[in-house]
């Protein structure tokens, strides 16, 4: 095996580190935690200006999955808000793979320039893991589709230009067959966004659709073909784009605080930090493997499930350890005097519960591994 990055990729990485250093300032991070909108327009625009977003979209530009991995791994390790560009690029990849020429021309430029963000509308109040059972309806009316229903967890809908929306178009077909994906502008009349406040500060949303009218140009990937579009999205989401090294910035914050407090003399602290570094290295290697599989022409869906289960649980374990090791200082929030790791220790303890839930729960991923990797019978 060869684990070395090419000279070109190293140069790419150096430039990203540079951009992050310049744009993701402590003020930007602080603004994220104050507003609950985890995005940095400065960062997105700068990545767009360098052509890095276009270059990283699968199938577009250079489309090198190793670079895609490097981009998001660097953003994640730096503690930069990367969900915005990650979702946008994921959707750009799907538009590029399944969209019409008209859709590509209309939608892609706004995404790869870094200006437009995308919200994802899949889950509903009553359908999360069982997403193929969703009820939001799209009904054909002449040349138009009329959409009614509601979606949960539409993160970034308050700031996004585009919405990717999973709907039911044929209730008489088996549940996976009667779905259609739409990609529509967020400012289409009839869409209402209501904030949902979370434990991890980031604001997500409930989004309501009341006689929302769009034409065929909004259908992405074909009528009643929504499940295939969905699996294409998920393969990207669980594969390469962040979500595996969340504990790296936490470890930096904790380590620096612990060093100043004299805690690094403690064997328990040293052992846990060493084990944490091992887990983050393994998580990075697993993600790198997904990127390599994609670069070799494969589809790393199953490997993505394995990586997500491991990385999410490792991050939860590490954030719990860091908070415990910090003692009462691990309870103190941002801007409070004496807060461990400048408040990040407390923040990560609040944020980490979500990672085994979103983007496919660990139970759904374990089902995938059991069925598709181990060959065990379907259990539901």
């Amino acid at each position: 095996m060869d684990f070395s990055l090419s000279t070109e990729t190293l140069e790419f990485r150096r430039t990203i580190r540079d951009i992050v250093q310049r744009t993701v300032t402590p003020e930007v991070i602080d603004r994220m935690h104050t507003t609950g909108t985890f995005a940095s327009p400065e960062l997105n625009a700068e990545l767009g200006r360098h052509g890095f977003l276009e270059r990283a979209v699968p199938g577009l530009g250079k489309g090198d999955p190793i670079e895609l991995w490097v981009l998001f791994n660097e953003l994640e390790k730096a503690g930069a808000p990367y969900d915005g560009p990650a979702v946008a690029l994921m959707i750009a990849g799907v538009v590029n793979a399944l969209g019409t020429d008209e859709q590509k021309a209309r939608i892609l430029p706004s995404i790869i320039s870094g200006e437009a963000m995308v919200a994802m509308g899949y889950s509903e109040a009553d359908y999360g893991s069982d997403v193929a059972s969703i009820k939001t309806r799209a009904v054909k009316d002449g040349d138009e589709w009329v959409i009614n229903g509601s979606k949960m967890w539409t993160t970034m809908a308050q700031a996004a230009r585009w919405l990717i929306l999973l709907t039911r178009t044929d209730p008489d077909l088996p549940k996976h067959k009667g779905l259609t994906m739409f990609l529509l502008p967020m400012d289409t009349p009839g869409i209402t966004v209501e904030p949902v406040h979370t434990l991890g500060t980031e604001v997500t949303n409930a989004t309501y659709f009341d006689d929302v009218r769009v034409g065929d140009e909004a259908v992405l990937g074909g009528v009643n073909n929504g499940w295939r579009t969905m699996t294409t999205v998920l393969a990207f989401e669980r594969g390469v784009m962040g979500g595996s090294n969340a504990a790296v910035p936490l470890l930096r914050h904790f380590h620096d605080w612990a060093a100043a407090e004299g805690l690094l003399a403690n064997d328990v602290v040293r052992e846990r930090l060493a084990r944490s570094v091992i887990d983050m290295q393994v998580a990075a290697l697993l993600t790198q493997r997904s990127a390599w599989i994609a670069a070799s022409g494969g589809m790393p869906g199953l490997e993505g499930s394995m990586t997500k289960v491991f990385a999410a649980e490792a991050y939860q374990r590490i954030s719990r350890w860091c908070q415990q090791m910090a003692g009462p200082a691990g309870l103190l929030q941002f801007h409070e005097a004496g807060a461990a790791g400048e408040g990040f220790v407390e923040y990560d303890a609040r944020h980490s519960p979500v990672v085994t839930i979103y983007g496919g729960t660990t139970e759904i991923n374990r089902n995938n591994i059991a069925e598709r990797h181990l060959g065990l019978p379907k259990s539901r």
Binding site: M1, D2, F3, S4, L5, S6, T9, I66, N73, K77, N245, V248, L251, R252, H255, L264, A265, D267, R270, E271, L273, A274, R275, V277, I278, M280, Q281, V282, A283, A284, L285, L286, Q288, R289, A291, W292, A295, S296, E303, M306, T307, V309, F310, E363, N365, R366, N367, I369, A370, E371, H373, L374, G375, L376, P377, S379, R380
Partner: protein, 341 residues
């Protein structure tokens, strides 16, 4: 040079060759028959015919010139078969030995993974019961000591041919200062990690097979989600361990001075990665054998089923070095700097 996380064509051939060899010559009946001593001289002789003991030695002295990455593939195959032969110890020790009988495998070499005690004894040396040559640290020197192997081992958890060996009696050669032992021990850690990956992989396969065969309530127990999810944790530990072990071998083979930038998760130092792989695969092998044994129910606890053979070796093959927590503390020194006095 760029990322390539597959085996090379040569390594695929090595995997086929040794996978086939161990499947044919070392089914678990061989490991059972070798208990409690843990050494099968006939199997070793067959490895000697294959040229395996000299694989990693330089071509100029009759070796195969294989890289550590190539040997990792061999060690994983050995672990999968829990083969009762000291090939890992021999391949690690051979790094510093040029004796023709060692390269040929006519003499068995091993590694004293911990330094001598006050009496000049290496305690519980892996393969110490069968090795003709022991390489290890005695005081501030790295030495190779050739002496008669005891051919008897204390009965132990892993049925491993462990023995105490003296660093001061026999034919003693000073190889260099103690610090020169580091690459030998790194090699042993990497190859042991690979063997632990093999153990974990085989244990998982036994577990999956069993839960598909075993019927309760009229269905295979492998159709129950509680059982499935316990097994679903294993592939990632195995794949993660394999990647980390290969990365350590890659770093060592490169011969370059790597970096230990844990703060950006950029780690390319061979010794550091060897230590990380050893800790991670120790956990992975323990987890895989625990879970698999458990899903065998009462039969997993019986001697008749093979999973117990893997369970005991998963612990024994790694614990001969020390408590993995001790390795973690050494790793912490590398990563964060030595503790302030």
């Amino acid at each position: 040079m760029t990322v390539d996380l597959g085996l090379s064509t040569d390594q695929e051939a090595i995997a086929d060759l040794f996978g086939g060899f161990f499947a044919k010559e070392s089914p678990t009946t061989v490991a059972r028959a070798a208990e409690p001593f843990g050494f099968d001289a006939g199997l070793w002789a067959k490895l000697v015919e294959l040229g395996a003991p000299g694989m990693g030695s330089p071509v100029g002295i009759g070796g195969g010139g294989a890289s550590l990455s190539d040997l990792v593939v061999v060690a994983e195959a050995l672990g999968r078969a829990i083969a009762p032969v000291p090939l890992i110890e021999h391949l690690a020790a051979a790094l510093l030995l040029t004796d023709a009988d060692v390269v040929a495998g006519e003499a068995i070499a091993t590694v004293a993974v911990r330094p001598t005690d006050a009496d000049g004894l290496w305690r519980l040396v892996p393969a110490g019961a069968v090795a003709d040559v022991v390489v290890g640290v005695d005081g501030d020197e790295l030495v190779a000591v050739r002496s008669e192997p005891p051919m008897v081992a204390p009965r132990n958890h892993a049925a491993a041919p462990l023995a105490d060996r003296s660093a001061r009696t026999g034919q003693r050669t000073v190889l260099g200062p103690a610090v020169e032992f580091v690459p030998v021990l790194d090699r042993w850690k990497v190859l042991t990690s690979a063997a632990l990956v093999g153990i974990a992989d085989a244990a998982m396969a036994l577990g999956v097979q069993y839960v598909m065969d075993r019927q309760q309530f009229g269905v295979p127990i492998g159709s129950f989600q509680a059982v499935q999810h316990g097994l679903a944790d294993l592939p990632v530990m195995i794949d993660g361990g394999r990647l980390l072990t290969h990365k350590a071998a890659w770093a060592i083979d490169s011969g370059e001075v790597g970096i230990n930038d844990w703060a950006l998760n950029d780690i390319t130092d061979g010794s550091t990665l060897a230590s990380m792989a050893y800790v991670f695969t120790t956990d992975g092998a323990a987890l895989a054998t625990d879970r698999s044994l458990h899903y065998h129910g009462g039969y997993g606890f019986s001697e008749e089923y093979d999973i117990q053979l893997y369970y005991r070796r998963a612990r024994g093959w790694s614990l001969v070095l020390d408590d993995p927590s001790v390795e973690c503390l050494a790793l912490a020194d590398r990563l964060f700097g030595a503790r302030e006095a």
